[in-house]
């Protein structure tokens, strides 16, 4: 596991991670290590800390104890510094309803400091199955379309690590296929962590971590 990392390779290490949710301990003493090409599925009952773990990984929630480190191109980052490495998809993620899909993506590309053409953004939207709906307001999108847009948001900066919380919730059959394709493609680029209880999605992972079992 500790071989020298190739350039563009990413490693994610958790050391004795603990998390509390309003003074209730939900995750304790979790240690693991993932490298490029790994897909991890996190499962567990409601309230077992699946979403919390993903939020810890993208720095949205603070650690109670332990350490999370990303290593990319030989540089170490804490989750808070690693936002350029991470794409996060979650039901909690909302985009601007008063803007169009394209305006949303253009905005997020600008704040991330990316130089992108509108045509590339349109291609990204088509890739997640929103082709031709670029100029529609997000408020007019159905819940399934909003979920697709979240993928466009998360993939915008070509992250090395993709964190998916309930990846296919509200998606139809074709949407699920799109997600499966995205996950397989991400394997070549880096790491995927999926939080789910869906039996079909459990099969996507190389490893399955079940939380709350103790």
């Amino acid at each position: 596991m500790n071989k020298e990392l190739q350039p563009e390779h990413v490693r994610l290490t958790l050391k004795e991670v603990g998390a509390a949710y309003s003074s209730r301990i939900v995750i304790a003493q979790l240690s693991l290590s993932l490298e490029s090409g790994d897909i991890l599925v996190v499962s567990g009952a409601n309230g077992s800390g699946k979403s919390t773990l993903l939020r810890l990984l993208c720095g949205l929630q603070r650690l109670h104890s332990g350490e999370i480190l990303y290593e990319y191109n030989g540089v170490s980052y804490t989750p808070n510094q690693a936002s350029h490495l991470i794409g996060w998809v979650s039901p909690d993620l909302a985009l601007y309803r008063e803007l169009t899909a394209l305006e949303n993506l253009r905005f997020f590309a600008q704040v991330r400091g990316l130089r992108v053409q509108d045509s590339q953004l349109s291609a990204l939207l088509a890739d997640v199955g929103l082709g031709g709906r670029d100029h529609d307001y997000v408020s007019s999108y159905s819940t399934g379309m909003q979920q697709r847009l979240r993928y466009a948001y998360a993939l915008l900066h070509q992250p090395a690590v993709l964190l998916l919380d309930e990846p296919t919730v509200t998606l139809d059959e074709r949407g699920s296929d799109t997600v499966a394709r995205i996950i397989e493609r991400q394997r070549a680029r880096g790491i995927v962590v999926i939080a789910t209880n869906d039996p079909r999605e459990l099969a996507w992972g190389d490893y399955v971590l079940t939380l709350g079992a103790a």
């Binding site: 993208c58 720095g59 949205l60 540089v75 980052y77 808070n80 510094q81 936002s83 350029h84 991470i86 996060w88 909690d92 993620l93 909302a94 985009l95 601007y96 309803r97 008063e98 803007l99 305006e103 905005f107 997020f108 600008q110 704040v111 991330r112 400091g113 990316l114 130089r115 992108v116 590339q120 948001y153 915008l156 900066h157 070509q158 090395a160």
Partner: protein, 239 residues
């Protein structure tokens, strides 16, 4: 598309570009919903009309205390309108839950600067409209317009520097709008004292050298608030 550089390596230029993007995004949202602008303009108009109905053209009264009253009324109108509109951009991020997407994508300083600029733009419109209405409805006459404008602009900058971070704080609490006024007012007292007295001097026709110390104090206040906000904003935004 090229993979993004690490945020801590972003030079100042891209920070400012990101801030500009946040500002333009807020401006676009605002132009579509017109929530904040309607709230503050309605407030400005109501105050000017209410004062006019109550006491008539007090701008024509040029002796001693009347000038202070005009200046106080002007700043009261600005303050209350501002307290109605300036929290909007942060509260909206929380209410529509877009804060998380923004937090993951943008450096926190860029968000602060963008929102600050947006609030400054709102205040610029508010200043303009309020002064016009005061001139129309209570016949406010300003003897030293350049000093008046300088004090008004600097006062507004100081107001925005103080309230923007407070808006970020109350966006994460309950009872948002009431709390905004409660948190803001005590911190705005020094600003109001300086601005009201300085503006009264400008209305009365004091020279630049007489009004300069007021301007200096406002600049000092704005700089102190701005620096403190930059240092503290991260703790608010990431909680």
């Amino acid at each position: 598309m090229t993979p993004q550089a690490a945020p801590n390596e972003l030079p100042l230029r891209s920070l400012l570009l990101a801030a500009w993007a946040v500002f333009m995004k807020d401006l676009r949202s605002e132009l579509r919903s017109r929530y904040a602008i309607n709230a503050i303009l309605l407030f400005a108009v109501s105050t000017a009309v209410a004062v006019s109905l109550g006491v008539g053209f007090i701008g024509l009264r040029r002796e001693g205390d009347w000038i202070n009253i005009q200046s106080s009324l002007l700043w009261i109108a600005l303050l209350f309108a501002a307290l109605n509109g300036l929290a909007r951009s942060f509260v909206q991020e929380e209410e529509t839950r877009t804060g998380l997407a923004l937090r993951l994508a943008a450096p926190s300083h860029a968000i602060y600067l963008g929102k600050l600029c947006f609030n400054l733009a709102l205040l610029a419109i508010l200043d303009l409209v309020t002064c016009l209405f005061f001139m129309m409805f209570i016949r406010l006459q300003i003897a030293n317009p350049s000093l008046f404008i300088a004090l008004l602009v600097m006062g507004s900058v100081a107001l925005a520097c103080t309230t923007t971070i407070l808006a970020a704080i109350i966006a994460k609490a309950s009872l948002k709008s009431a709390l905004f006024a409660v948190l803001s007012f005590p911190l705005l007292v020094p600003l109001l004292v300086i601005a009201i007295q300085g503006t009264a001097l400008a209305i009365e026709g004091a020279t630049w050298s007489e009004g300069f110390s007021y301007l200096q104090s406002l600049i000092g206040f704005a700089v102190a608030m701005f620096v403190a906000s930059l240092l503290l904003f991260r703790f608010v935004w990431e909680s």
